[in-house]
Amino acid sequence: MKNPLIDKRNQLILFLGILLAVKMPQAGARFALWVLTGIIVAALSDILIRRIFYKQKITPNSAIITGFITAGIIDYNQPFFILSVFVLLAIISKHIIRYKSRHVFNPANFALFAAAFFRVPLTWAIESNIYFIIAFGLYMAYSIRKLPHVSGFLILFSALFMMQGINPFMLISWFFVFVMLIEPKTSGFGRLNGFIFGSIAGIAAFLVFRFVPRYDLFVLSLFAANAFIPLLEMLNKKNRAGLPTGR
């Protein structure tokens, strides 16, 4: 039997589980129940949508991650139905907003964007141990080839905040950088595209912080960067088509 931990998605689920366990003594049982609700709603809705509309049977690893992240970031003192609505929205967005048979927006981030729009507080309770997040995140970004995304984001984010006299490392969310930003399907492919994607997110995060600070800078910045992906892919294709057929 194949070792389930070879799959990067399962590694991420295990990692998120550890972050949840670290937070538990401080947050209490409600947080665990909250996250579990998010996972169940996400997994069940994805299974149902796939079965009804695509006649597919799936193991809902991606949906579990979506549920985990959404529930881990939305304030866990909110009513459970609010979580269910936003998790459902995340899964639906994955099946509706598509470009070339791939979803455009990171589903969890899409739900968080909607939550922020409706003034639901985002407390990022899942970000329980940054040292662990950095260590695991570097490994993950390296193994799924997303280091250019991370570099692009960190360079632009740090430079712009330092120019304002703000220490970027006191404000940065490592969970965002190493878990959300590098989501494989919605962050663009290739070194250059990845770097540009990260840079767009870094610039957008700064602009949100500077001009609309009431909104979550990371959620909005990823939403903006995701929106650029179709354009990046089109430009990439154009460039490749315009290249001289080498001799």
Partner: protein, 181 residues
């Protein structure tokens, strides 16, 4: 192999930077505490803008009455709109400062029926004041005083949380609003 070493070095760099940033932050917190003590030694009442301890160094006379403030910035704020800050005996003013990563004071105690004006400021970056039970969710920008007015009509202990991401300790920012009978 070389890439793995670069990766390990990068990891150590990020962790080191984070640790240094936190150490710097801790020492900043100590300085602030000392500043608060020196202000409270001067018994001139409270600043009408911020609600903190006033100092004799910062005063302004408006309609024959001298007001004392905690900093020059509050004088400017008062001059912009003196009617707003001139005392109203029916409203209790409470000041709260948000910082990375906590609130000062950590507890606000009120009586049921009190009309409250919370004057919220930020020491460093933008924070949020979120009290679920009172349906309060407002951003608090650095350099601004955010006023939150409400009637304390529900008794109990309520969490005051930060609703705007402000760094890795954002999820541990908490204060208590206690409304007694």
């Amino acid at each position: 192999m070389r890439l793995k070493w670069i990766l390990i070095m990068l990891g150590l760099f990020f962790i080191g930077t984070q640790a240094i940033a936190q150490m710097g932050h801790c020492s900043m917190g100590t300085e602030h505490h000392h500043a608060e003590i020196s202000h409270s030694e001067e018994e001139l009442g409270t600043c009408p803008v911020m609600g903190g301890a006033a100092s004799k160094d910062y005063s302004y006379t408006h309609e024959g009455k001298t007001y004392y403030f905690c900093c020059p910035w509050c004088i400017d704020e008062f001059k912009k709109n003196p009617e707003k800050y001139a005392s109203n005996p029916n409203i209790k003013e409470v000041s709260i400062e948000a910082y990375q990563f906590g609130f000062s004071p950590e507890q606000i105690i009120l009586k049921k029926g009190d009309i409250i004006k919370i004057l919220a400021v930020s020491r460093d970056v933008t924070h949020g004041i979120y009290i679920k039970e009172y349906n309060i969710n407002v951003p608090v920008k650095k350099g601004n005083v955010t006023e939150i007015e409400f009637t304390a009509d529900k008794t109990g202990e309520f969490d005051i949380l930060c609703s705007v991401y402000c760094g890795h300790g954002h999820n541990s920012m908490k204060a208590k609003l206690i409304v007694e009978e």
